[in-house]
């Protein structure tokens, strides 16, 4: 019947499982190692400090200052998080604590649809709606001249993109808070709003931080939609109405093109390494915060 007896099959199955586990556990290290190895050509002639803090980006002259890209990425990401977090939090609280149950049932498919839309579509929407809105209305309203293609446009598009991810987690968190905890709070004479503010928010805090961290990681790595609206000008932005450039966009726009310039290839690998390092940093930060607030 079988080629192997039961005991042998067991061993084979087990070793396969172990093998897959090991591959997954080592994947991040392999990525890191690979990228480090590939960016070595650049790191040999430039110090890490120069690469991160110098402003000038002239690959043909051998100047590789990543600062404008790093600043662009951070601005776009933080702004997007700043916009979407309060929206998601209020929506999650409303849908789980105040609205009729029916709402939650409608909400879920809507969120899934939003999460499934390809990022190019968000990009196109950004070009058609957000960019003109900023150049025609928002900019003049603040007394600023803007082409529309800007950090702010990138942040808007990005914030809409990450809403479904953050919202999904937040809804789940508020939904799973035990009813008995709510009953205990209300039985002390708390109003519903006091219960939300003093008890539910605190109970949900670790989860809220985790969801924001998840959104942060996604936003930081998002490429296409941002690239389409952010302007792609290599300059340190001075206001949110200025155009900018992000790390993922740098890689996507240039990889495989200008191989004649020495070290360019290696610089793009270094950009990828930076991305990886920053997402890892976000991850660790989140774990730290979650551990800190999870004690209740």
């Amino acid at each position: 019947m079988y080629l192997l007896n039961r005991q042998q099959r067991h061993v084979v199955n087990y070793s396969w499982m172990l093998f897959s586990l090991l591959i997954i556990a080592f994947l991040p290290f392999m990525l890191f190692g690979g990228l480090y190895f590939k960016s070595f050509l650049l790191l040999k002639t430039h110090t890490l400090k120069d690469l991160i803090f110098l402003h000038s980006w002239h690959p043909s002259r051998g100047e590789f200052g990543f600062y404008p890209f790093i600043v662009g990425s951070i601005w776009v990401t933080l702004l997007a998080i700043l916009i979407s977090t309060p929206i998601c939090l209020l929506t999650a609280i409303n849908v789980t604590q105040y609205a009729k149950k029916r709402f939650l049932r409608i909400m879920h498919p809507v969120i899934d649809i939003l999460a499934g839309i390809p990022s190019v579509v968000y990009g196109v929407w950004g070009i058609l709606v957000i960019v003109p809105f900023i150049s025609r209305y928002l900019g003049p309203w603040f007394g600023v001249q803007s082409m529309g293609y800007s950090i702010l446009a990138g942040a808007f598009v990005l914030s809409v993109m990450i809403i479904p991810f953050i919202l999904n987690i937040m809804i789940e968190i508020f939904r799973t808070i035990p009813t008995e905890l709510k009953e205990a709070t209300l039985s002390l004479g708390a109003t519903k709003w006091q219960m939300v503010k003093h008890v539910l928010l605190r109970k949900a805090l670790p989860g809220i931080i985790a969801s924001v961290g998840f959104g942060l990681a996604r936003a930081f790595g998002e490429t296409m939609a941002v690239l389409m609206v952010v302007g792609n000008v290599i300059k340190v932005p001075h206001s949110v109405f200025d155009p900018g450039y992000t790390l993922p966009a740098l890689i996507a726009n240039n990889y495989g093109e200008v191989l004649s310039i020495p070290q360019y290839d290696s610089a793009l690998m270094f950009a990828a390494l930076l991305l990886l390092a920053v997402s890892l940093f976000f991850n660790l930060l989140m774990h730290f915060f979650i551990a800190r607030y999870n004690k209740y």
Binding site: K100, T179, E180, A184, S187, L188, G189, R202, K295
Partner: protein
């Protein structure tokens, strides 16, 4: 004998199924009333009607009257926060608030309107002592309440329930998740504070009912089968269902 809570023609529906049928009971003041009955007979639901926690469940439709101090708690104008503060709640498992041990009680005090740090701190200690918890936690008042053992947590919840300064205590199988020592403490505590509170305890444990009850409400399948003083109920039951329950036929 004074009546603290009078329930008239109370019916509760969940959609088409009826959970409580025409409940008419009187709960005497400053006595321990035990709501007894097998699991699923509607004891918890009856208890939740009394402090309107049923409001949390939009699927439940409640009709009838519950009179406390001659006022119907279902009146549209009723102050629900006040109503709930007049009743301390102890649930089946302890649910400490996500705060420090100290703040679990201080929060109840704040809701009750106690202002001033000194006053609060004195009262917090006092309630912890009443719940026999002070000695165990006095060095760790600023630690999260969730670090306490289940028995300690339940005593903290008792202290918190007392801290709203209630007239009535509602307890839903308060000892079912506890170790024997904590259980006995809670039972004895009820006996001790009885002169000052009207206490309603839900249980499905006959032994516990015998031990603590002054007055018994026996429920079966959403209906009150029999009610009366404990001695009458245990010595001289009138209904056939009660007799067979007391003889242990239902388990």
């Amino acid at each position: 004998m004074e009546t603290a809570i009078r329930i008239k023609d109370l019916n509760v529906f969940a959609g088409k199924t009826q959970i409580l049928h025409d409940i008419n009971v009187e709960i005497p003041k400053n006595k321990i009333t035990v709501i007894l009955g097998p699991s699923g007979c509607g004891k918890t639901t009856l208890l939740k009607c009394m402090n309107r926690l049923t409001d949390l469940y939009p699927e439940l439709k409640v009709s009838g009257e519950i009179l406390i101090n001659d006022k119907n708690i279902f009146d549209p104008g009723a102050d629900i926060s006040k109503l709930r503060q007049s009743m301390g709640l102890l649930s089946q498992r302890p649910y400490p608030l996500p705060m420090t041990i100290y703040n679990n009680i201080a929060y109840a005090l704040k809701l009750r309107g106690v202002r001033g740090r000194r006053k609060q701190s004195i009262l917090v200690m006092d309630y912890l002592k009443q719940a026999n918890l002070y000695e165990e936690v006095r060095k760790r008042l600023r630690e999260p309440a969730s670090r306490l053992s289940i028995g300690q947590q339940q005593r903290l919840c008792l202290a918190r329930g007392l801290a709203v300064n209630p007239d009535i205590i509602l307890a839903d199988e308060p000892t079912s998740a506890l170790d024997p020592i904590s259980s006995r403490f809670i039972d004895e505590k009820f006996q001790e504070i009885k002169p000052h509170f009207t206490i309603v305890v839900v249980t499905h444990v006959l032994r516990q009912a015998r031990r603590i009850a002054d007055n018994v409400i026996f429920m079966y399948m959403g209906e009150v089968v029999e009610q009366g003083s404990a001695s009458e109920f245990f010595e001289n039951p009138k209904e056939e269902k009660t007799k067979s329950y007391l003889e242990g036929m239902f388990n």
